[in-house]
C-alpha cells in the first residue's frame, strides 16, 4: 500500500515556521525574566509546548500524514502526562 499523495512541502513554509520558532524562543526568554513566582515555569513550558506543536506538525510532517499517526503521538503524550500526574499524587500529598 503506497502513500496516496506525495505532498511536497515548500521550502518557504519551513522557513516561516523557523521564524515563528525563533520568535517563540525569544518570547520564552523574555517571559521568564518577569517575576511570576510559580507561574514562570508554567509560562516557559507553554511556550515550549507551542514550539513542539510546530515542530511536530510541520517539520515532522504530521499535518500531512494519515490521521492514525497523529492519534498515536497524542496518545503517547497522554500516557506521559498521566504518569507524571499520578507520580505527583504521591509527592504533592506527603
Amino acid at each position: 500500500m503506497s502513500e496516496e499523495k506525495h505532498h511536497i512541502v515548500p521550502y518557504r513554509l519551513y522557513f516561516i515556521i523557523l521564524i515563528a520558532l525563533i520568535a517563540l524562543t525569544m518570547g520564552s526568554v523574555w517571559i521568564t525574566s518577569i517575576e511570576m513566582a510559580e507561574y514562570t515555569v508554567a509560562a516557559a513550558l507553554l511556550f515550549a509546548v507551542v514550539k513542539s506543536y510546530l515542530v511536530l506538525t510541520y517539520f515532522m510532517h504530521l499535518k500531512y500524514d494519515k490521521r492514525y499517526i497523529k492519534i498515536m503521538v497524542g496518545f503517547v503524550f497522554a500516557i506521559f502526562l498521566v504518569v507524571i500526574i499520578i507520580t505527583f499524587l504521591d509527592y504533592l500529598f506527603r
Partner: protein, 537 residues
C-alpha cells in the same frame, strides 16, 4: 495429508538457502526460524532459572542453613528473578509464538522488518551473556533482588553493572520486537483481514507490543541512572545527596507493572485461540475480549504503586493505586467469563492443549483473586513482603504465562514441527506438573498470612510443615517438566507426521502445510465477508 509443500518440497525447517547448517539458522531472517531460536534460548534460560528455584526450595526445606548461607541465597533469588522475568516470561510468548505464528495468522509473508527481528534475537543473546558474566566474573553475583532497589543497588559491592547493562540490552530486544509487531499488524494484514477479523492472539500481541514499546524505556533509563550512581555518584536516588529512593521505586514499577501485562496478555491470547478450537464454537464476546485486552494494556499503566503500599507514599497515592488496581481486575474477569461461556454447549474435544487451557483458567483465577488481597490496603500491610506475595505472583505469572506457554506449545506443535506429540505422555506430563505446581505454591498463601517473610533463607519452626510440602511440590513439578520436555523433543524428531489442520481450527495458520512453507503462503490469502477466525459451523 500433505506434510511438506511448495518450493521443491522445502518447508522452513528443511530449506537451505545461502547459508548451510547452523549458519542458516543464526543468520536467518525468517520469522519462523527466529521463533525457534527464541524457543530454544528461552527454554535453556527457563531451565537455568528452574534449577536456581529448586536450589532455593531445597534451602527452604528446613529452617536454618540447609545448603547455603544468606548471602548465597540472596544472590540465588536475585538471579532466579532476573532470569525468569527478563529472559523467560517477558520475551516468552511474543518472541516464540508471536514470531512463529503471527505473520501467518494475518496472511503475511514475514514481519515488517525481518532483519530487525534477527537483531532482536542477537540482543537477547547478548543480554543473557552479559547477565551471566555478572555471576561469574568479578566480585560476585548481584544480591539486590531482581528489583534492584536503591539505595542498596548502588551501595552493594556485588557485580551489578554487567547485570544492569544486560537487563538494558534485553529491554532493547523487547522494544524492537514490539516495534516490529506493531508495524506488521498495522501494515501487513492480507486483503479482507480487517481489524475485526483478527484472531485474538494477534490482538493480544498488539496490545502487548504497545506496552513493550512505551514502558520498557522507563526502566531502561532508571537502570542507567543506577549505573551512573555507581560510577559517578550522581545522587539521583541517594538520600545522602537529596535523592529519594521511593522515586526509584516509582520509576521501576512504572515499567515493571505494565511488564506483567506483557507477560499475561499473549498467554490469554493463546487461550483465546485454544478454547474456541477445542469447543468447535465461536468465541463468546469477541469484541468484549478485544476491548478488555486494550483496557488491560492501558489501565495497567496506572496501577504501579500497588507494589509500594508500605514504601512511604502519601495516603492519597495509596488510595488511588488501590482503587485503580481493583478496576484493572475487571477486564481480566470479563475474559474468564467469556472463555467459560464459549465452552457452554460447545463440542468439547479433550486434548492436551485443552487441559492446559482449563488449568490456566483455574490458576490464573486463584492468582488474580489473591491479588485482590494485595490490592486492598489493609490486608496488604499484613502480607506485603511475605510468602503470600511469592505465592500470588507465581500463581499468576508462572501459572498464567507458564501454563499459557505450555498450552500454546502443544497447540501449535504439529504446525511448527509437522509432527504430533505423544498424547499420553503429554497428558501425564501435564498432570504431574500441575500437581507439583499446586503443592509448591499453595502453602505459600498460608505461610505468608501466618507471617513467613519472603527473601529470607531462614524461617521460624512453625513454618516448617508448609515448607516441606512446598519443596516436595517443586520436585514433582520439575519431574513433570522433564516429562513434558522430553516428550516434545522426542516427538519433534520422531512423532507421527501431522496433518495440515489436526484440531480443525479456523485461523489462517491451519490452512498452510505442517510445517509451513518458507514464505508461508503459496498464494496470498484473501478473506471474504463470511470468513473469520472463529466461524465454526
Amino acid at each position: 495429508m500433505q506434510t511438506s509443500s511448495a518450493v521443491n518440497g522445502a518447508n522452513y525447517l528443511t530449506y537451505q538457502g545461502k547459508f548451510k547448517g547452523l549458519l542458516g539458522w543464526i543468520l536467518s531472517t525468517d520469522h519462523k526460524r527466529i521463533g525457534l531460536l527464541y524457543l530454544y534460548s528461552i527454554a535453556a534460560m527457563f531451565t537455568t532459572g528452574l534449577l536456581l528455584g529448586l536450589a532455593m526450595k531445597f534451602e527452604l526445606l528446613a529452617p536454618g542453613k540447609t545448603i547455603m548461607e544468606a548471602q548465597t541465597y540472596n544472590a540465588t533469588f536475585t538471579v532466579h528473578g532476573v532470569i525468569m522475568i527478563f529472559m523467560v516470561v517477558v520475551p516468552g510468548l511474543p518472541a516464540v509464538f508471536g514470531n512463529l505464528m503471527m505473520p501467518i495468522m494475518i496472511g503475511a509473508k514475514d514481519v515488517a522488518f525481518p532483519k530487525l527481528n534477527l537483531l532482536s534475537w542477537y540482543l537477547y543473546v547478548a543480554g543473557v551473556i552479559l547477565v551471566l558474566t555478572a555471576l561469574l566474573a568479578g566480585p560476585g553475583s548481584p544480591d539486590t533482588g531482581w528489583t534492584f532497589y536503591a539505595p542498596y543497588s548502588f551501595k552493594t559491592g556485588t557485580n551489578l553493572l554487567p547485570a544492569i547493562f544486560g537487563a538494558f540490552v534485553l529491554g532493547f530486544s523487547s522494544i524492537l520486537t514490539g516495534l516490529n509487531f506493531l508495524v506488521t499488524i498495522h501494515r501487513l494484514r492480507c486483503p479482507g483481514m480487517k481489524w475485526t477479523k483478527l484472531p485474538l492472539f494477534v490482538w493480544t500481541l498488539y496490545g502487548t507490543a504497545w506496552i513493550q514499546l512505551l514502558a520498557t524505556p522507563v526502566v531502561g533509563i532508571t537502570l542507567v541512572l543506577v549505573a551512573l550512581e555507581r560510577i559517578f555518584g550522581v545522587g539521583i536516588f541517594d538520600p545522602a545527596l537529596g535523592g529519594d529512593p521511593i522515586l526509584y521505586q516509582h520509576l521501576f514499577w512504572i515499567y515493571s507493572h505494565p511488564a506483567v501485562y506483557i507477560m499475561i496478555l499473549p498467554a490469554m491470547g493463546a487461550i483465546s485461540e485454544i478454547i474456541p478450537t477445542f469447543a468447535q464454537k465461536h468465541i463468546f464476546g469477541y469484541k468484549a475480549i478485544i476491548a478488555s485486552t486494550m483496557a488491560i494494556a492501558f489501565v495497567g499503566y496506572l496501577v504501579w504503586g500497588h507494589h509500594m503500599f508500605t514504601a512511604g507514599m502519601s495516603g492519597t497515592a495509596q488510595y488511588y493505586f488501590s482503587l485503580l488496581t481493583f478496576i484493572v481486575a475487571i477486564p481480566s474477569a470479563i475474559k474468564v467469563f467469556n472463555w467459560i461461556s464459549t465452552l457452554y454447549k460447545g463440542a468439547i474435544n479433550i486434548q492436551t492443549p485443552f487441559y492446559w487451557a482449563i488449568s490456566f483458567i483455574f490458576v490464573f483465577m486463584v492468582g488474580g483473586l489473591s491479588g485482590l488481597v494485595l490490592g486492598a490496603l489493609a490486608t496488604d500491610v499484613h502480607v506485603h513482603d511475605t510468602a503470600f506475595v511469592v505465592g500470588h505472583f507465581h500463581y499468576i505469572v508462572f501459572g498464567g504465562t507458564g501454563f499459557g506457554f505450555f498450552a500454546a506449545m502443544h497447540y501449535w506443535f504439529p504446525k511448527i514441527y509437522g509432527r504430533m506429540y505423544d498424547k499420553a505422555w503429554a497428558n501425564i506430563g501435564w498432570l504431574v506438573f500441575t500437581i507439583g505446581f499446586l503443592a509448591l505454591y499453595t502453602p505459600m498463601f498460608y505461610l505468608g498470612i501466618m507471617g513467613m517473610p519472603r527473601r529470607y533463607y531462614d524461617y521460624l519452626e512453625e513454618f516448617h510443615g508448609g515448607n516441606i510440602l512446598s519443596t516436595f511440590g517443586s520436585w514433582v513439578l520439575a519431574t513433570g517438566f522433564v516429562i513434558i520436555v522430553a516428550n516434545l523433543i522426542r516427538s519433534a524428531r520422531k512423532g507421527e507426521p501431522a496433518e495440515m489442520n489436526p484440531w480443525h481450527s479456523k485461523t489462517l495458520e491451519w490452512t498452510v502445510s505442517s510445517p509451513p512453507p518458507v514464505l508461508n503462503f503459496d498464494k496470498e490469502p484473501v478473506l471474504g465477508e463470511d470468513d473469520g477466525p472463529y466461524n465454526y459451523k
